[in-house]
Amino acid sequence: MSDPSYEIVIGLEVHVQLQTATKLFCRCSTRFGAPPNTQTCPVCIGLPGSLPVMNRQAFELALKTAVALNCEIPAFTKWDRKQYYYPDLPKGYQISQFDLPMSQHGYLEISDAKGAFAPKRVGILRAHLEEDAGKSMHDELAGKADSRIDLNRTGTPLLEIVSQPDMRSPEEARAYLTELKLLLTYLGVSDCNMQEGSLRVDANINLHVATPQGTVATPIVEVKNMNSFRAVERAMAFEATRQFDVWNDTRISLGAPGGHKTTRGWDEQAQVTRPQRQKEESSDYRYFPDPDLAPVIVTDQQLDAVRASLGELPAALRDRLQTERGIDAYDADVIVNQGRAFVDYFSELADIGGDAKRASNWMQQDVLRVLNERDLTIELFPISPASLAELLKTVQRGELDTSRARDVFNVMAESGDSAAQAMQRLGIQAVHRDELRDLCRELLDANPNVVADVQSGKEKAIGALIGQAKRRNPNANPNQVRQLCLELIRQQGSAQE
């Protein structure tokens, strides 16, 4: 899909809503979905004489995230006013951070478990703490020309995380977003719900085209309105092709006349990007320090405490599952990507069951299947790790074959029964080895042709007996039947000699 005559260059700007009870500068609730304009106060609707005060929790969550993103945390940080007029911004300025952001120069490592691209570090230019704007809605009823403004969201804390333009393909962009979201989820700093706007993505993209005169950069395009990671991936793929076509038509490069930065919106329906209004130049925002807000000083002791509070993060956890549990990179990736609670379940299952690989397979296939089918999270999964371990042990002991075990598993997931109870409910009893041996002997006596086939080297002939054994006793374990039959035939053979 990528054309060797150009390289794609992508940088991402992610706004993530921090999980606080109240807004960044006032104590109005941040609850999503409240009736319009019921969560506002003089501070967040910008009434004269009101004063903002920084939310301690918001700053701490932002700091935790910045540290987890390997950022440098300057000792001194302050907030600035970014001035622009828009109806959803009642003060006429947004309180953001300009020249002294709370963190900068970090990185996030991305990789692809299937090796679609080589592992790499995506640089984080900066992560800063700012307030959200309100919401404008177009009134389509009665054909009215007005927009309606809801200021409930105004002042909600956002962390803006700006990456370096380090991504070289739509796949890498998606991987960065997936890994960032996973990290934020592990940290517990945001619910990252894209539908509710808790995580928003803007992308900057251009191409480096190889020409006989050297590499030429095409004009940068900022793409907005992407409502899922999949949409980001598709929008980037579309934009790369579009920019290459435009380049071939016009030969306009970055910075040349007509080569300034433009903004486009992703149209999910049509799967294309379309031009949007031009952004004001950065200098037009006329930033200056917000005189109402005190700067913040972060001490080394505070940073040490934050570092100690991070817990084990996804990258480290993937490594540990591989080295300590002996599962491969792909399996560790799938398990870790399901979230911390899923990893905890897996660890407990592997501990009790004693077989990490089997635990990993069951978690990925059967547990995930049930979670997906019922739209559950692992916290609400009806089978406890101890119960599931009990089932896996009966499989391990050869008392139950995998397909029969899956039946038991389904009953357990349905009823919340223990493995023993579910097996009883299904009428499954582990068949005693002696009983099974008798059954096999009878079958061999009744089928001398099979015995003859096996003796002449066609071991596959046993298959016919397994079906018969299952019919005589549905609890007979196919592997055990096979083994016992072969054993008996061998004994018969040596007795004859």
Partner: protein, 96 residues
Amino acid sequence: MSLTRQQIVKVSLLARLRLQDDELDRMTHQLDQVVSYMDLLAEVDTEDAEPMAHAVEQTNVFAEDHVLPSLDRESALSNAPKRDEQCYRVPAVLGD
């Protein structure tokens, strides 16, 4: 430093102020005087002064993350030039 009429046109656009020609002239003159007055500061010797990022000496002023009552909607909307039952109404916002 002196301000040009062109700069005033740009600033008035950013401030969403529609100024008439005579107002532009007056503003250019008046704002130029304000800015020129500020030029006085350039005469101060700042050789030994530390650069200042903020005018407030206080740092680390925080509030705890506990919800307090918001304004009721009627009060919040009461000063709006145009409104309906639930929302402020403004001339159609286009673009995004």
